[in-house]
């Protein structure tokens, strides 16, 4: 059964949000046909074959006269809800105050009354439609309450998502490390994530509040990568020991970044297993990266040899991938693929096309960071006794190389 339209009259309860698809399809159009519970009416759950994220409840058996009256009624939402409403059954409804009806739109069609839910059905959740004929226009009590339950198909059970990698890859990190990136094999879920992430000392004790906890949470758009900043207030500084709760990391000690398996992915399943990255901490790094110390390889003309840039120290994984690019002598971009190797100490570029003999440029944005957040020409920490205005910063530096 397709949606019937256009409708004769629409009574908007509340206005619709964008309908966004929910994973999975249910494969049949008429999902549940509740046998007539009274002699007059039936209540059916309907899924739209063309858009499986849309669900509706339909009441049939209404006389043309009643439908006409419904069309002409000037009901507000409470009156519609008394006649027909859908509730999400959470299982513990008895323990809670009565939940409001599910948001949606009422439509009076030529021979049925339909309620279209605003939002996709939640997998595994049972919904209950309640139709009360006694609330039909005219006030004539006519028949018993009709109810129709529908359980949205559950997602396949079982955990499958894992932590695939944590950057920086190195097992030795500076005392003033600025951030981690946690990569997952599938999309994760947002909300109170910091409960699942621990910075653990070698003695097994968790460090208190080591991370910058941002309510918005710093995810990439696919929610497979989380950025985890060490709280800047917990990074050890140059001249002064932190007098407060101490630095999160101290040189000469061992730590582990620990991810709990209870963290749920976007489908609501916990991780397949927990994750642990053990590392030792070395001295602080307060030196801005110096592109002049980078070693640039010389690929041969007529080949697609890799171009490599070797850094004296590991660089930030995300930024090193994004802020270095190659142009030819006239500034045209050279297209290719970028990878990082050797614990982010080596940038590797494979061109799509063969190198031609001649000059090329590596354009590096100075916002590139080392593991301590130092940029080219700009340390992470700023000496307040110098004016912060006095640091000129060019947006890019250029390294040139010749293919011959």
């Amino acid at each position: 059964m397709k949606w019937i339209g256009p409708d004769v009259r629409t009574a908007a309860l509340v206005t619709v949000m964008a309908a966004i698809s929910v994973p999975g399809t249910w494969g049949q159009e008429r999902v549940h046909s509740f046998d007539v519970a009274s002699k007059t009416f039936s209540v059916d759950w309907i899924l739209d074959a063309s858009n499986t994220s849309k669900a509706a409840v339909q009441v049939s058996g209404l006389s043309p006269a009643v439908l006409r009256q419904l069309r002409r009624s000037k009901w507000e939402s409470p009156q519609w809800q008394q006649l027909l409403a859908v509730f999400a059954a959470t299982g513990d409804a008895a323990a809670l105050p009565r939940l409001p009806p599910v948001s949606g739109i009422y439509r009076v069609l030529p021979d049925v009354l339909r309620f279209e839910l605003h939002f996709p059905l939640e997998s595994g959740l049972t919904y209950q439609a309640i139709f009360q004929p006694s609330r039909l226009p005219g006030g004539r009590a006519s028949g018993d309450t009709v109810m129709a339950d529908f359980r949205a198909p559950a997602r396949p059970p079982g955990p499958s998502t894992v932590v695939t990698h944590v950057y920086p890859s190195s097992e030795s990190l500076p005392e003033n490390l600025l951030k981690f990136y946690i990569h997952f094999s599938a999309a994760m879920s947002r909300g109170r994530i910091y409960d699942h992430i621990h910075l653990r000392k070698g003695n097994g004790i968790d460090i208190e509040l080591p991370f910058l906890e941002i309510d918005e949470e710093l995810w990439d758009p696919s929610m497979t990568r989380l950025t985890l900043f060490i709280d800047p207030g917990r990074i050890k500084r140059e001249v002064r020991p932190l007098e407060e709760i101490g630095p999160a990391l101290e040189a000469g000690k061992s730590y582990a970044l620990v991810i709990d398996p209870e963290w749920k992915d976007s489908l609501g399943n916990p991780l397949q297993r927990g994750f642990q990255k053990a590392f030792t901490v070395g001295p602080a790094d307060r030196e801005p990266p110096d592109a002049g110390k980078w070693q640039v390889s010389r690929p041969k003309p007529g080949t697609r040899e890799m171009l490599t840039v070797t850094f004296p120290e590991p660089m930030d994984h995300a930024l090193a991938q994004r802020v270095i690019h190659v142009t030819d002598a006239s500034g045209r971009p050279v297209v290719g693929n970028v990878a990082l190797e050797n614990d982010e100490r080596r940038w590797v570029f494979t061109p799509n096309d063969q190198w031609l003999g001649g000059n090329y440029h590596l354009i590096v944005q100075t916002t590139i960071e080392d593991l301590a957040g130092n940029n080219i020409g700009k340390p992470f920490e700023v000496d307040l006794f110098e004016s912060v205005q006095r640091r000129p910063l060019t947006p890019t530096v250029t390294l040139s190389f010749t293919v011959r």
């Binding site: 910058l212 918005e216 990439d220 929610m223 950025t227 800047p232 007098e243 916002t367 006794f385």
Partner: protein, 373 residues
């Protein structure tokens, strides 16, 4: 959430609103009508004329929505909605564990509470604006046909992968941590998820050409001689010596002030730290209010009852530039309202009351009004 929290500015706006039909609707006149697209809804802030500013972090945009909710409430009624996350879940046809309430803002005209809700927790989550009607019922605030305007935040740094691989999935994103409206500008605090760039922008409203929003770096001296670019967690606007300032709260809770007039494109600002509020403490939300002729800041945080901070000495207080030993306090004095536990969000309901979203037992959230301390 922030709204006009400065009494002087508030009064001026109130005068402007009362000035008659010439002014009315001026800010919404150039808005387009239709359905604004949202990828997400984060921080909320009300401006004048019932205009709600909604930060869409995923889209890196601020959307101004004319709610049309401009019938003044003569007096606000007490609010108490227990298990509001369960109730919103029921309204949206899902379970409470699939509901995140990202911000709360009270319309200063109608006194209706608006909630930025995420239905779902993954990348496909649906953003929903939920309104608490007078009487305590919840409704989805319809956005199918509203007047709105939109400001795209200035582009992320040029993608260095131009013409190279991985273009289709640039993982960089800048989160919006707080917004406020003041005097024709929307102030936006943000933090990127790659380079450590914490920015504050002032976007003129009504939105015109917004590509040139102001981006600044703020430094403060709370940790001794050296300081880093810390992200602003939450902020309010406040007049100090008749000049509009931002009061910004950072992690490990220094409270820093700087004049809004300093917010110029590309500026690097040195803020003045006016209070150290002790450590093990993460600020969550902040408002300004008046009591007995004095101004106070009320700050929700993650580890103790809310803090009531006196502004008595705000003009006279010296900037804190030396370390504060033993996680101590310095600068403006404050008291902790111990029994206001679990407060995640707050906004002023009226002159006497505040609305808070607070955590109760077993993951339940309550929305309730409380008399200002």
């Amino acid at each position: 959430m922030k709204r006009i929290s400065n009494p002087l500015v508030f009064a001026l706006l109130a005068v402007a609103l009362l000035a008659g039909s010439v002014q009315a609707g001026k800010l919404t006149a150039d808005m387009s009508e239709g359905k604004p697209a949202f990828q997400s809804m984060g921080p909320l802030a009300f401006g004048p004329e019932g205009i709600l500013f909604v930060a869409d972090t995923k889209a890196a945009a601020i959307v101004a929505v004319a709610t049309g909710d401009t019938a003044a409430a003569s007096r606000s009624k007490p609010i108490k909605v227990e298990g509001i996350n369960q109730k919103i879940a029921g309204l949206l046809g899902t379970t409470a564990d699939q509901i995140l309430i990202d911000d709360l803002a009270v319309n200063p005209i109608s006194k209706s509470a608006y909630l930025a809700v995420s239905r779902g927790r993954g990348p496909e989550a649906i953003p929903v604006l939920v309104r608490l009607k007078t009487g305590g019922d919840l409704e989805v605030f319809g956005l199918d046909k509203v007047k709105f305007s939109r400001a795209e935040l200035p582009d992320a740094p040029v993608d260095g992968m131009v013409g190279q691989g991985n273009r289709q999935s640039n993982p960089r994103r800048e989160s919006i941590t707080d917004i406020a409206f003041l005097d024709g500008r929307v102030l936006v605090a943000g933090l990127a998820n790659e380079e450590f760039a914490s920015t504050l922008r002032a976007v003129p409203f009504p939105f015109k050409t917004v590509a040139g929003g102001t981006s600044v770096e703020i430094y403060h001296g709370a940790h001794g001689r050296f300081e880093t670019r810390s992200p602003v967690r939450t902020f309010v606007t406040y007049n100090i010596a008749k000049q509009a300032h931002l009061l910004a709260a950072y992690t490990c809770t220094p409270l820093v002030q700087f004049p809004i007039s300093d917010l110029k494109p590309g500026a690097k600002i040195m803020g003045k730290t006016i209070a150290e509020l002790g450590n093990r403490n993460r600020p969550l939300d902040m408002i300004v209010y008046q009591r007995d002729g004095k101004d106070y800041l009320l700050m929700a945080n993650n580890s103790r009852g809310v803090m009531k901070i006196s502004t008595d000495q705000i003009e006279a207080v010296e900037g804190i530039s030396a370390p504060v030993p033993d996680g101590g306090k310095k600068g403006l004095s404050y008291e902790t309202i111990e029994n206001w536990t679990g407060v995640d969000q707050l906004d002023r309901l009226d002159e006497q009351n505040v609305v808070v979203l607070r955590r109760a037992e077993a993951g339940s959230l309550n929305l309730e009004s409380l008399p200002l301390p």
